[in-house]
Amino acid sequence: MSRRIRLPVVPPRRIFIGRALALCFVFLVLAFVLKVLGLPLGMVATLVMTSTFGTEFGLENLALYMTPLLMTGAAVWLALRAGLWNIGAEGQFLAGATAATAVGLFLPLPVIVTLPLAAVAGMIAGACWSAVPAAGRAWLGVSEIITTLLLNFIASYLVYYLVTGPWADRVTGAQVSSERIHAAIPVLYGVVHWGGPLALAVVTALGLLLGRSRFGYELTLSGSNPQAAHYAGVSVAPRLFLALVFSGALAGLGGMMEALGTVHRLQGGLAHGYGYLGIVVALLARQSALALIPAAFLMAVILNTGIVLQTLQVSASSVLAITGLLVFAIAVSDELAAYVRLETRK
């Protein structure tokens, strides 16, 4: 006997409470699994807390994780505004990192020139990497989900080819890695570089620009109902194309920051799944660009927790499992938040 009904408009408070409950649910499941694995819960919790928030190393790590997550999250979020699923942030991230590395390795210029040049190169490379799927989606109706996803593998193998072949490190003999790039994004504190503040600025600017520009409005309209956008006199195809291309550029810039700020080399596993985790970040942030910040923070904490768990001999895939569980729990809670119990009045 169903006496529940779905609200057409879900108040944000309900969503928030639902998500808090979902998070608690994830913690409970995690606690249960750790218990079954025979780990003392109190010890694990203390360890996670102290090593994430209690040490300089942990906090630095958190910031370094957050930077690429913010960028890939922003990339996926921007495409979602236009109703598109950019699954290819991973590949665009790598393309951006590769282009930035090329600038850093092969152009003997002063750092002050190299850095902006590398940033632009990264953005262009990321944009190019998403341009083909974007054109296919905008003008031919080819699903961007498949094409962007497949280009990830191409980008990944391309990077492997470069760092084991032509760009392989012949100085220190590091495996699956390019030589150290000498141009580096200036350090803010410890190992934390200026990429972090820049990423925060990009996300904030993105939110402001889309909310207050004609382009932002047209993009939202095109994403929400292409037929109505046509009726409103908006050419939908160029907007979709631009949205995906800009999305790729954001991910590419993220790749540049990672290569020149954090890793200082082009490496095989450079992308580290940031592109896919960016999807989670964007989903968590929903409508608001500023919400990308707490979402990326949460994701960074999970990544850090994964490292702590690894030191306790828990498999490295635990991060993926936790992320999956979180996405699942939040999807369910968002849906359930829309239902209210009916009050039957006599």
Partner: protein, 526 residues
């Protein structure tokens, strides 16, 4: 069984004394959050009668039928079938009990043949299917109920009238004794309406019960035996159709009398008489290359209402899309105010002062998931004060939205509410107000009365007449001949994408226009 005594005067006329109703609704109530959908609804449906259910949008007709067909459970009251209280836990349970519904939008698989679609509904359809057995079965059912169908034809090759026949036959062949039809004539040509009436009368005379949901009064007067009027979720009266007047029904339906005007005389002299939009030999094809609009030429003049008559799906939507620039013509040209509009998009037409209320408003003229504000400014976001060259001023958009909502007489606390949460009537009012603001030269309105209740329809028609009086042009696409004949200065008839005729006011002949709508040109003229 006190319900026998509830409406002693309104039992069907020639019913033998003591014959029990097929289905009795007794004190049915259904509540939704903040809304009373139905309250204290008691109706008897007898075998051998066509019982019309009349009410405005939101009067609770759909909820009531959803209860009868097992989609909802009543919060109060009970359903009594053949004298026994029943509970339909699911639509399947209602079907098993002999209650079948023909929806306004047919639930058929368009790639399947008629016989295959009918087989979908049979409980006895076995594991092995033989095409010839299905066809035989379909033929047998068709003969049994006297409905003419072609078992081997695929659904998408049928007219909507034929599809409706398949839908009815499917419901009947599942053993329905009570047939519910939701707005069944909306998609039919006048000829097909006659055939539907005949089929329903045959079913009734064979002892079946029919519930007819409708807001067309003449339809109810012509077909139904009894009528129950719903208002604000409650029964406001049950009558024998033979002993009642349409005016009484209207008054009961909306709580006050509404004048059904048959004429909208000009309030002032028609000053200008220039052509606003000229269609010169335009035509359209759909994506499959099928011709949807045969080459036609038409002038839309300022200060007039041009009615476009035709059965839905005969080229009206293509024609109105052409007039608003949403579609470009294959041949010929569209001229607005003398300017050739070749290669110009909807925005150029909007700038020329042509407003457009399309047929499918929710999907074509609104973005359902976006807020009311985003939808209100949809056509006007480029110009100041809302838009700049690059900017979009949310605060100005909000101010504009509030004034538009005022004009549209829609009360809404929070304009960030998604449009899909608004009622159909309010969505329609919003689009109409927005497009009226745009239409300096002309307003193209497709089926503007759809989704509005009678009071709002009267208001909408007055608005159209006002626009005409202000010297602007109105193109009114409608399936309602009364509406067209009351408002239009000229009526153009479309059938199969062909322009059959353009009749000036004064030369209207309902029978002739009806015949032309069904494509019978020669016979009608002889």
């Amino acid at each position: 069984m006190s319900d026998f005594l509830h409406h002693p005067k309104t039992r069907p006329a020639d019913l033998p004394a003591g014959a029990p109703p097929l289905l009795t609704l007794s004190g049915i109530a259904k509540y939704f959050p903040g809304v009373v959908a139905n309250k204290d609804v008691s109706i008897d449906f007898y075998p051998g009668e066509i019982h019309a259910l009349l009410g405005e949008n939101g009067a609770g007709k759909s909820t009531l039928m959803n209860i009868v067909t097992g989609l909802y459970q009543p919060d109060e009251g009970e359903l009594i079938l053949d004298g026994y209280g029943v509970r339909f836990e699911s639509p399947e349970a209602a079907i098993a009990a002999g209650i079948g519904m023909v929806h306004q939008h047919f639930k058929l698989v368009s790639r399947f043949t008629v016989a295959e679609n009918l087989a979908l509904g049979w409980r006895e359809t076995g594991f092995r299917l033989s095409a010839s057995a299905m066809a035989r079965r379909a033929e047998a059912e068709a003969t049994r109920y006297g409905l003419d169908i072609r078992p081997a034809a695929s659904i998408d090759s049928l007219t909507s009238g034929e599809q409706q026949r398949v839908e009815i036959l499917r419901v009947l062949s599942r053993g329905a004794r009570l047939l519910i039809l939701d707005e069944p004539t909306a998609v039919l040509s006048p000829l097909e309406v006659g055939e539907l009436y005949a089929a329903l009368r045959r079913f009734r005379d064979g002892g079946g019960a029919v519930i007819l949901i409708s807001h067309k009064l003449d339809e109810i007067m012509a077909l139904a035996d009894r009528v129950t009027v719903l208002r604000h979720g409650q029964v406001s009266g049950t009558h024998l159709v033979a002993q009642t007047e349409p005016e009484t029904l209207v008054t009961e339906m909306i709580g006050r009398p509404v004048e059904q005007k048959s004429d909208y005389p000009r309030k002032r002299e028609r000053l200008v008489d220039g052509a606003v939009i000229v269609l010169d030999n335009v035509s359209c094809r759909d994506r499959a290359g099928q011709i949807r609009l045969h080459p036609l030429s038409l002038e839309i003049r300022s200060g007039e209402i041009l009615g476009i008559a035709g059965v839905t799906g005969n080229g009206q939507s293509e024609l109105s899309d052409l007039l608003a620039g949403l579609r470009s013509s294959e041949t010929g040209q569209v001229r607005v105010d003398g300017k050739d509009m070749r290669g110009r998009g909807p925005n150029a037409f909007r700038e020329s002062g042509i407003g457009y209320v399309p047929e499918d408003r929710l999907h074509k003229a609104l973005a359902p998931a976006l807020g009311v504000t985003e939808n209100a400014v949809m056509r006007l976001f480029r110009a100041g004060p809302i838009g700049g060259r690059l900017a979009y001023h949310a605060a100005e958009a909000l101010r504009f939205t509030r004034s538009l909502l005022d004009q549209a007489q829609v009360s809404l606390a929070d304009p960030s509410t998604p449009v899909r949460a608004l009622s159909g009537g309010n969505q329609q009012r919003l689009v109409l107000a927005r497009e009226r603001m745009i239409s300096h030269r002309a307003l193209v309105a497709s089926y503007p009365s759809r989704g509005l209740d009678i009071g709002a329809i009267a208001l909408m028609r007055d608005t159209l007449a006002e626009i005409r009086d202000e010297g602007r042009a109105v193109v009114l696409v409608s399936e309602d001949l009364d509406e067209l004949m009351a408002l239009s200065d000229r009526i153009a008839v479309l059938c199969g994408g062909k322009l059959m005729t353009v009749e000036p006011r004064g030369a209207y002949d309902r029978a002739r226009i009806g015949a032309l709508m069904s494509g019978r040109n020669a016979e009608a003229q002889s």
